[in-house]
Amino acid sequence: MSQGAQRGSSGLSGAEATLALARLALVRAIRGRALWITAALALLPVIVVSVRVGLGHDHDDVWRTAFELTLLTLPIVPSILIGPSLADELEDKTSAYLWSRALPRWTIITGKLVGLAPIAAAILIVALSVSWMVIGGPAAVPVGVAIGGLVGVGAAALTGSAMVAGLSTLLPRHAVAVSVVWLLFVDSSIGALPLKLRYLSISFGGRTLAGFTDVGLAAGTITLVALAGVGVAIAVVRIARME
């Protein structure tokens, strides 16, 4: 394949287009309100953590509570950040302008995800870090345990973002609603089942990486990578077939 064909008539390669769209998504997110709303919501568990610390509850219990409450923001943060960003583009047909620039279609998905998914992960990681500090930092919860929790929520947020991208391309009109409902009811319910089916749950994968399940880290990692792959694959296939 010639270099010209790889780059397209816009002169941008897939990676360059991804980075350009990621920068655009990031700038829009910083200028919009959604980022600040999600950040504020993600910090709410700190209130419960502070109260429990004040009441002298066991540090391990409080850490578990902090992790679970932070994970509770999983249906909200990626859904608000990534859902509208993709769905608005598809619903308002503004994606057609991007296609007219001869960018590879998949770069719309990867661009949004590269720009916004790390932000979603960072929001959850920062929120849990603040809870960790409120609990008492390394003196109350060992650094290794805390890192496990932070990796758990961060990886769950990244996978959740990919899943939201997939759902947003399937039902752009109801992107936020479907994403919230999927992650809140379907994913968390599957994750709580005492069956092998829980391996299909993002929340289960996050809990496993955090060391809150009886399953090894490898299983949690494979779960999250596989689910993220499914989400991205759905999104890429759907966007390639859109008119």
Partner: protein, 293 residues
């Protein structure tokens, strides 16, 4: 040779309705909008029907089996008595779905699409608009919180083994109506208020999900730790607490908010929500074509 048609002004010759009925037109439009597509209302109504069917089946087949999680005055409760108050916990799920597909977006969608200009350029008052949307949303929520539970209550009375037992069970009807009505009121008004303060539909969905999942749950968590009445701030906890308390039941391992707190929460929060909706819609009307603002 072309024909020139006179497309000039023609007097409206259709039916003229009194202004007091305008809200009904808006309500009907809201209901038609909800019913129009596959995903807005129908799956959640099917879900509510499924819940009614499963709970009714359990009431009938397991009627003498005990529900391990429930107690009434310290004693275990059988399915035939425990299933009805428990069912409200499940009806909350399709109710939340309806708020996510319809309720939280209604007013924000009108703002986003510029529909207010058309509403208030006609003789529609802000109160007509609010009343129409609220009434429509109340009807939708009543389909979930009232129809299913009332049918289950009738079924419970019907499977009584004696006339005396059936007469004793009649007290369930006002109890179910009270819980269902207050739950309907709560789940109709709150998402509309969130919608009224949001500039865009997607922001409204996010805000409502954030309020329902995070804000209410965090306040309920703090309430469970410090002051139990605060737990009723969470719409789900308020409905569950009222349903259990009014049936004299407790859930093992779970602290319920007091009944008075649940009732106050289920009345006051939606009332504040309605005040917010009226205020925001009046502001929109003042800024629209023909507005005085």
């Amino acid at each position: 040779m072309s024909v020139i048609h006179d497309l000039g002004y023609a007097r409206y010759a259709g039916e003229r309705r009194p202004p007091s009925t305008i809200w009904r037109v808006i309500m009907r439009q809201h209901l038609a909008f909800a019913w129009k597509t596959k995903w807005r209302l129908k799956p959640w109504l099917l879900g509510a029907a499924g819940i009614s069917l499963v709970v009714g089946t359990l009431m009938y087949l397991q009627k003498n089996e005990l529900v391990s999680a429930l107690r009434s005055v310290g004693r275990p409760v059988s399915w035939i008595d425990g299933a009805l108050p428990m069912s409200f916990d499940y009806f909350r799920i399709p109710a939340f779905m309806v708020t996510m597909t319809i309720g939280a977006a209604v007013i924000a969608r009108d703002r986003e699409s510029g529909a207010f200009t058309f509403y208030f350029a006609r003789p529609v008052r802000p109160l007509d608009y609010v009343l129409g949307k609220l009434a429509g949303q109340l009807v939708l929520m009543a389909m979930i919180f009232l129809i299913g539970p009332v049918l289950l209550t009738i079924f419970r009375i019907a499977i009584s083994e004696s006339t005396r037992e059936a007469l004793d069970q009649l007290i369930l009807v006002p109890k179910v109506l009270l819980v269902g009505t207050l739950a309907t009121w709560m789940y109709a008004a709150l998402p509309l208020a969130v919608s009224a303060v949001s500039s865009r539909r997607t922001i409204a969905f996010g805000l409502w999900a954030g309020y329902y999942i995070m804000v209410a749950k965090i306040v309920a968590n703090v309430g469970a730790l410090l002051w139990l009445p605060l737990k009723a701030f969470d719409p789900g906890s308020a409905v569950q607490s009222l349903a259990m308390r009014i049936f004299d039941m407790t859930v093992q391992g779970e602290k319920l908010a007091p009944m008075w707190a649940a009732i106050i929460s289920l009345i006051v929060q939606p009332a504040i929500a309605v005040a917010i909706i009226v205020m925001m819609v009046k502001r929109e009307a003042a800024g629209s074509v023909g507005g005085s603002g």
